[in-house]
């Protein structure tokens, strides 16, 4: 296998060596004819002229061979791959899957480990849970959460949420399947964000059988409510399925 680019840097080195040899020979001859080493060196350089310029015009003589050779290498590679398409396909798939898997894993690692959560004081956010070993899942009951809240003297604030679920929205054109989550009133406060429009949940909405309230995501507000600023206070019909 040939690599034209590396060969060119190699040739550059050789060209410098070739010209240094020329200078060394001229210098030695001047010394032999009786000049002092210093004078001999000066004379050799004067006779030679501009070393950098000579190297440059010599490189011009190499022409665009390196590019031609690079194209030849590419053609050679493509021909070889076409000659053994099965092997080439397996190689390409192996590389593609390897690179793809690495990218996917790193995307997760990047999001989870390296990038901070997009909230104020993200370093102070903590996720706490029980683990039900029989069901093999994280689980916090509502009364447990109430206990955590009243007995809390560790955290500034606590919020809870139910896992994301699907809801059916009716009354805004055709029924829509939306994903949403039930959260406690303190949820946005804990994250340090506020609604762009309308208000945050009220404490009385946090009680069992209290009034129900919905906050719309920006996406739903735009796609289902036409980005209507008067949407605040409207009653929406959400069925939990």
């Amino acid at each position: 296998m040939k690599f034209s680019f590396w060969r060119r840097t190699q040739r550059n080195k050789e060209l410098v060596e070739e010209m240094q040899a020329h200078l060394a020979l001229a210098e030695r001859e001047a010394v032999e004819s009786g000049q002092s080493p210093k004078d001999a060196q000066a004379a050799a350089h004067k006779e030679f002229g501009n070393v950098g310029l000579t190297a440059e015009v010599t490189r011009d003589a190499w022409g665009w061979n390196w590019l031609v050779e690079l194209l030849q290498d590419i053609r050679y590679g493509v021909r070889n791959m076409l000659r053994t398409p099965g092997f080439a396909l397996v190689t390409v798939l192996t590389l593609a899957l390897g690179i793809g898997a690495n990218t996917a894993i790193f995307s997760v690692v990047d999001a989870v480990l390296f990038r901070a959560l997009p909230y104020h004081h993200a370093g102070r956010l903590v996720w706490a849970t029980n683990f039900a070993s029989e069901q093999k899942q994280t689980l916090v009951f509502a009364d447990e959460y109430a206990g955590w809240r009243t007995q809390n003297h560790v955290f500034e604030n606590i919020a809870a949420y139910s896992p994301a679920a699907e809801y059916t929205l009716t009354g805004t054109g055709s029924p829509q399947r939306l994903s949403g989550a039930q959260v406690t009133a303190s949820f946005l406060n804990v994250l340090g964000v506020m609604p762009q429009l309308g208000r945050n949940f009220l404490p009385e909405e946090d009680r069992p059988a209290g009034p129900k309230a919905v906050l719309l995501s920006n996406g739903v507000w735009r796609s289902n409510f036409g980005a209507d600023r008067n949407v605040v206070g409207r009653v929406v019909a959400l069925d939990d399925t």
Partner: protein, 119 residues
């Protein structure tokens, strides 16, 4: 811009390749020896500028008329030694005949009497 030696004649455009090929006919030589041989064989009249010599050597090598080989030397850096190839010998023949036609034509202009007797 470049300093020139007053007492030396520049090598005629297009003849350096021929002079290199001709000089290599007597055996492989490195760049420095080549420039010295051309100067000495011309009776110290022709001086090969290194800025012309090395581009010419590399160009001739690319055309395949000469081939290069690295040889170790006692002065430190290795020496790049050039030798004439088979196609280089053929090229030398064609350049020589072109040169002879050219000099004859110039002689004919400079000496019209000679041209009349020749034709």
């Amino acid at each position: 811009m470049k300093p020139r030696y007053q007492n030396r004649t520049e090598i005629l455009q297009g003849t350096l390749d021929m002079l290199i090929l001709q000089t290599l006919q007597w055996g492989p030589r490195h760049g420095y020896a080549l420039s010295k041989a051309i100067r000495t064989n011309s009776g110290e009249i022709l001086k090969v500028d290194t800025g012309s010599l090395y581009p010419a050597l590399h160009r001739l090598e690319r055309r395949g008329w000469i081939a290069a080989e690295w040889k170790a030397s006692e002065i430190g850096p290795r020496l790049r030694v050039y030798r004439l190839t088979k196609s280089g010998s053929r090229q030398l023949l064609s350049e020589r005949s072109r040169w002879e036609r050219l000099t004859a034509a110039i002689a004919g202009i400079m000496n019209p009497a000679g041209k009349e007797s020749a034709s």
